[in-house]
Amino acid sequence: MKSDENPILRITALNKFYSGGFQALKDINLQIERGEILALLGPNGAGKTTLISVVCGIVNPSSGSVSVDGFDIIKDFRKTRSIIGLVPQELTTDSFETVFNTVSFSRGLFGKPPSPSHIEKVLRSLSLWDKKDNMIMTLSGGMKRRVLIAKALSHEPTVLFLDEPTAGVDVSLRKDMWQIVRELKEEGVTIILTTHYIEEAEEIADRVGVINNGEIILIEEKDKLMEKLGKKQLILDLRDSLASVPDSMADYNLELSEDGMQLTYTFNTQRDRTGITALIDDLKLADIAFRDLNTTQSSLEDIFVNLVEESS
């Protein structure tokens, strides 16, 4: 039975134990809103693929519940699976089939009547139309990845899981993929992608989730996350070398480079006062002159690494 209109995906107290006792997912609670792009980050073996596999019906959950568009993934598996598309991590394709046939097969498998016009539209959008009669084994890795996306889109899903969609593809193709994802979002498709590439999440995600050791350790809107956890640093190139930071400036927690020519001040942009003006005044009082200065902001990658290290 349909229980709720929103969100599109609701995961409640989900656990997964594999035979042998290994717990791949630990009490996962997650809600995904309609039309958003969620990037799930995590190191190898964190549980990203297991989580996706449970939602898609490939892996049985040990406990907990998952609903898609208000329908339970086990009781109402036909409804939930018919609105989900999955692009797997591995390039698993029917090597001896043609592109058109394999995409048509996927549409039928997901219970949709044949629609050559829709298949054509999908193949054209992925620049695969001129390859429609080619056997998949003759395609490059990047093209095979596109075929997998075409298969996942063949039945017009409203939720799309992309399990490391740009793993092993070149930079140009990666950017093409991001464009495809953006276009799908514009069409109203909810997208959940796992990735190792932080820049990918930084580039296209609305929200970012970090999973480690089977636990979701953070889920936040990307921009807020960057603001909240992003550190800014002021780097000062000194005119003369310093042997040590003067005691009078101990409150600033300055870092002095090994050659004594650079001072680094880390500050929080969320505070009312960053302390930069006071620092420069105090440097003048201490007779420390600088030739240049610049600021840097920590990337999502820095945030991710810090989070994973803290949780491990």
Binding site: Y18, S19, C56, G57, I58, V59, N60, F77, R78, K79, T80, R81, S82, I84, L86, P88, E90, T92, T93, D94, S95, F96, E97, N101, S104, F105, S106, R107, G108, L109, F110, G111, K112, P113, P114, K151
Partner: protein
């Protein structure tokens, strides 16, 4: 019911046969012709009639059964094993198809191919002997039930197997000997005791006997017993397949 899903699996599997026409159809036809030449003409000319039937005609049901069994098993086992092997099985597991629909698609295609092959073998036999079919409807019933049952068995084998050796070991070391020892090429009356009694523990004997009855109205066991055997085997396989899908054995972790 996901009719489009069933049709997608069925058509996909049938397309695989079209791609491997030589291996799927031509090879069994040539092998059968060789059987007729060696057993029917060369050896058969030195054997008296068996139960009033010429030896060449006597072996036709056995040859059909041999091809039905081996092809049903290999078609169905390969059909489900290959997606597991290359990883494309993820798509079927994540699709809105029920256990029954998956079975109808894979087993239906495997059985269809085996039945088509059985009919081709029958036509091939017509070039070597004067064919007589006393009960054509019953012949088709036996062929259909055998193809379905052993396709189900092959499907179980394909789910169980996790390497190519396991995939071939059951047909090679179990099914082929059972067919050869199940009265395909001889009447068990020709065997001395205790082998005659032992033969009655071979399930294939009941299939061959039933099919042979539909051709020549001669059988080693009751026709009803033959029918009951094949139905029991079919429903047993169906129950096992259903259990395998429900538990996700070797498919879902």
């Amino acid at each position: 019911m996901n009719i489009y899903g069933i049709m997608a699996i069925y058509k996909f599997e049938m397309a695989r046969t079209r791609r491997t026409l030589v291996q799927s159809i031509v090879a069994p036809v040539i092998t059968t012709s060789l059987y007729f030449i060696v057993f029917g003409a060369a050896i058969g000319s030195r054997i008296d009639q068996v139960d009033g039937i010429s030896y060449g005609a006597f072996i036709v049901p056995g040859l059909i059964m041999l091809n039905l069994l081996t092809n049903s098993i290999s078609n169905a086992s390969f059909g489900i094993y290959f997606p597991k092997f290359v990883g494309t099985v993820y798509e079927m597991l994540s699709a809105p198809v029920s256990t029954l629909e998956v079975i109808l698609g894979y087993v239906g295609a495997a059985a269809s191919k085996a039945v088509i092959l059985g009919i081709i073998i029958l036509i091939t036999a017509g070039f070597f002997i004067d064919l007589q079919i006393a009960h054509p409807v019953m012949m088709m019933v036996f062929i259909l039930l055998t193809a379905l049952s052993f396709s189900l068995f092959g499907f179980i084998l394909g789910i169980w197997a996790d390497n190519f050796e396991k995939l071939s070991v059951v047909p090679t070391l179990l099914v082929t000997p059972l067919v050869f020892l199940g009265g395909s090429f001889y009447s068990t009356d020709m065997l001395p005791e205790p082998w005659q009694t032992v033969s009655h523990f071979n399930p294939v004997l009941y299939l061959v006997s039933g099919l042979r009855w539909s051709f020549y109205e001669i059988s080693e066991v009751s026709v009803m017993l033959s029918l009951a055997s094949i139905l029991i085997f079919m429903f047993s396989c169906l129950a096992v397949v259903y259990y395998l899908f429900k538990t996700g054995y070797k498919l879902r972790s």
